[in-house]
Assembly symmetry: C2
Homo-oligomer: 377 residues x 2
C-alpha cells in the first residue's frame, strides 16, 4: 500500500472512525482502524467496528499502490492530529504490517495487523432502501434520544423505537419514568413506503446524530435494515448497527387523550427558574413542586430541602382549569424543556398522580410525558 | 444582617472564595463561606479557609444591617451563579442562621452556621511589608510552579522557594528530576529590602496566580510573612497560606557553570515536534532521544517504542560543539518549553549523563535544568 493525502482529510476522517473504536476491545484487531486504498477509484476508506456499531468513511487520495491494512486507531489519530498541515504519505513495508508515515517534518513507523482478522461490516442485500431527509431524522433524534434508559439491563429501553407508516416517521424513547415521542413527516412522503418498526441502540443513534452534524451536503440518509441490522448511508459515509431485540412497550396507550388543566409559559423563563430550583432539589431527592395559580396566572415552582434550605420561583403563565399542586423529578422536566426548540411550552395535567404532557408550542410535533412524584401535601 | 448587592458582584466574589473551600472539610463550618457585612464601610467581605490556605475578598453593597454569618459555599454559589442579573437582597432571620435571598424571580432560604465557629484567618503584625510588582510575581510563578512535585510526601518540594536579596527576587522549584529557577528584578529595587527565603505551597501560589489574573488594577502585591505564614494583599483581596517547613535543597550548586555543547532552535518547531514524538514515547517509557547534528545543523528527535512503532523528526538548529546523543523524559522537556514565552530557546549540554539547561532566549531570566535519562546506544 502506498498513498498520499492531506493531513486535514486524514485527520477529519480518522477522528470520525476512532470514536467507535472500543478502548477495551474483545479482540486486539478491533482496537485498530481498517484502511483500504483503491487505485481504480483513488479513494481510501477507513472502518471502525466494535461488533455492534460500525462506521465507514471514504476520502480522495493519490493511491500509488492498492492495499489493505489495520493500524492502531488511537495512536494513529493522536499522531496525525498533531502533524502540520500539508501532504502525508503512508507506505506499507511489504509483508510486515508496518506503515511508514512521512510528512514534511519527519517520519513515523507504526506497527499494524493484517486486515484478514478484521471482521466485515454487516451488509444487507435485497431490501428496499428508505430515504430519510436529514432534517426529519435529526429532529426526531434530538427529541427522543435524551429519554432513553442508560441502564443496560433495560434492554429495548436503551434504544429509540422507530415506526414508519404511510406518511410519517415516529421516534419514541422511554426509560419507564418519562416518554418522548416525535412525529416527523418526511418530504415526498406521498410515495408508498414500506412500513417498519425497529429499536436502534441509543449509542449508534448518538453517533449518527454527530456524523450528520458534520455532513454538510444535506443529502437524505439511505436506510436499510433486516431482522438484526440497520445500515445508514450517505455521501461517503456508512453507519451500521445491530438492532435491539424484544417487544417495545405499547407506549401510545400511555398518553392521555384529555386533560382537565393546561398551562402555557415562556420556555426560557421556565427552564432557568427550574435550573435554580434544581440546585436545592439536588441536595435531597430532586423533587420540585409545581403549583398552578389560576388567579394570579402564575406557575409557582418550589422546593423544600430539609436542613439545607428552600426556594420559590414564580413564572407568568396562562392557566386554565382548577389550581393544582403536582411534583416532578426536576431532571426529567429540564431534559424535556432543553430538547424543545420553541419560545413557548405547553403543559397539560389531570390530577397530581396522573401523567402530565409537555409540548413545544409551534415547533416539533413532540409529546413528552412525565410521571409525577407523590408528595405529602 | 441585611444587605443588597448586584448578582454579578456577589457571583464574582463568591466564585473567587469558593475555590479554596474544601470539598471534604475537617470541620463542617469550613464547608461554608464567612460573610461579614459592615454598615460603616458599606462593604461585604467573603472568606474561605481550609486551615492552610485562606482567601478573603470584599465588595461594595448597601448594608442596611450589620452582621456576620457562614453559609454553605457550594450551594450558595451554585444558586447565585444561575440568578438573573439585577439586585439581590440577603437577609438573616434573627438568631436562626437562616438567610433569605430575594431576587426578581423568587426567593431562597439557605441554612447557615454561626460565624463563631469559623476560624480567624492568620494575621501578622509588626513585620515589614514587601511590595512585589504584579509582573515580577506572575513571571516568577509561571516559570516555576510547573516544576514543583505533586507528591505530598516530598514536603518542601511541593512548594516554590522564594529568595529575596538586595536587588532580586528568585523563584525556584524542583521535583528531584528537573529544576526551574526564575530571577526577577522588581522595579524600584534600589530601595533597601529585607532579605528572606520561604517555601510556599504550590496550591496557594496557583490560587494567587489565578486571582492576580483577575485583578486588573495592576497594583503591587503587599507581602508579609513570619515563621509560619505568608500573607498577600492587594486591592480588596487577601490570600493567606501556611509556609512549608524544612530545609530547601541548595539548588544553585546543581547548575553547571560551563557547557561543551550548545543548541539554539525555534521554540514552537521544537515543541510541536516533541508533542508528536510524545504520542509514541507515551506508549512505552516516555523517553525521547535528542541527537545534535553539527554538520547538518539539525536537532534530531527520535523515539523507539518496541512492538508499537518509531518516529523521527528533525528541527533546524544552530549547533556548536561536538555531536551528542542524549535522552530525556519528553514530559519534562515539554513542560519547560511551554513555560517559556520567547521565539527561540537555547539548550546547553556537557555529556549524555550530565544535566542540561534550557533557557528562553531574550525572555524571562529563567534557567531550566533537566536530568537526562540513560539509554543503551
Amino acid at each position: 500500500m502506498k498513498l498520499t493525502c492531506t493531513q486535514s482529510e486524514l485527520n477529519t476522517h480518522l477522528s470520525l472512525v476512532s470514536r467507535v473504536v472500543p478502548s477495551r476491545p474483545s479482540h486486539p484487531v478491533l482496537a485498530n482502524v481498517l484502511l483500504k486504498a483503491k487505485s481504480d477509484t483513488q479513494q481510501v476508506s477507513l472502518t471502525g467496528f466494535d461488533l455492534s456499531l460500525g462506521v465507514q468513511t471514504s476520502f480522495n487520495a493519490q493511491v500509488q499502490e492498492e492495499g489493505t491494512l489495520t493500524l492502531p486507531a488511537k495512536l494513529l489519530s493522536d499522531i496525525v492530529s498533531r502533524l502540520p498541515e500539508g501532504e502525508i504519505t503512508l507506505e506499507e513495508a511489504e509483508g510486515e504490517s508496518v506503515v511508514t508515515l512521512t510528512c514534511a517534518s519527519g517520519h513515523y513507523q507504526v506497527r499494524g495487523m493484517s486486515a484478514e482478522e478484521f471482521p466485515e461490516l454487516p451488509s444487507i442485500e435485497d431490501t428496499e432502501v428508505i430515504h430519510l431527509p436529514l432534517d426529519a431524522l435529526s429532529e426526531g433524534l434530538r427529541g427522543s434520544l435524551f429519554a432513553t434508559s442508560s441502564d443496560e439491563t433495560k434492554q429495548v429501553l436503551t434504544g429509540v423505537h422507530l415506526t414508519s407508516e404511510a406518511e410519517s416517521l415516529e421516534f419514541a424513547a422511554t426509560d419507564g419514568h418519562r416518554l418522548a415521542v416525535v412525529q416527523t413527516i418526511p418530504e415526498g412522503a406521498t410515495q408508498e413506503r414500506q412500513a417498519f418498526h425497529v429499536t436502534v441502540p441509543a449509542k449508534a443513534l448518538r453517533e449518527l446524530e454527530r456524523m450528520m452534524q458534520l455532513n454538510s451536503t444535506g443529502d437524505a440518509i439511505a436506510v436499510r435494515f433486516d431482522q438484526g441490522q440497520l445500515i445508514c448511508e450517505w455521501a461517503n459515509q456508512r453507519l451500521t448497527s445491530r438492532l435491539l431485540e424484544g417487544q417495545y412497550p405499547n407506549y401510545r396507550q400511555l398518553v392521555p387523550r384529555q386533560f382537565s388543566r393546561q398551562m402555557t409559559a415562556d420556555r426560557r423563563l421556565f427552564t432557568s427558574a427550574l435550573e435554580r430550583i434544581a440546585v436545592l432539589a439536588d441536595q435531597k431527592n430532586s423533587i420540585v413542586k409545581l403549583s398552578l395559580d389560576s388567579v394570579k396566572q402564575e406557575l409557582v415552582l418550589s422546593v423544600e430541602a430539609q436542613d439545607v434550605g428552600s426556594g420559590r420561583e414564580a413564572v407568568p403563565a396562562q392557566i386554565s382549569g382548577e389550581d393544582l399542586d403536582i411534583a416532578f423529578n426536576v431532571k426529567y422536566l429540564l431534559e424535556g424543556l432543553k430538547a424543545f426548540n420553541t419560545g413557548e411550552v405547553q403543559m397539560q395535567f389531570n390530577t397530581a398522580t396522573s401523567p402530565s404532557i409537555l409540548t413545544p408550542l409551534g415547533g416539533l410535533k413532540m409529546t413528552y410525558l412525565v410521571m409525577p412524584v407523590q408528595i405529602r401535601s
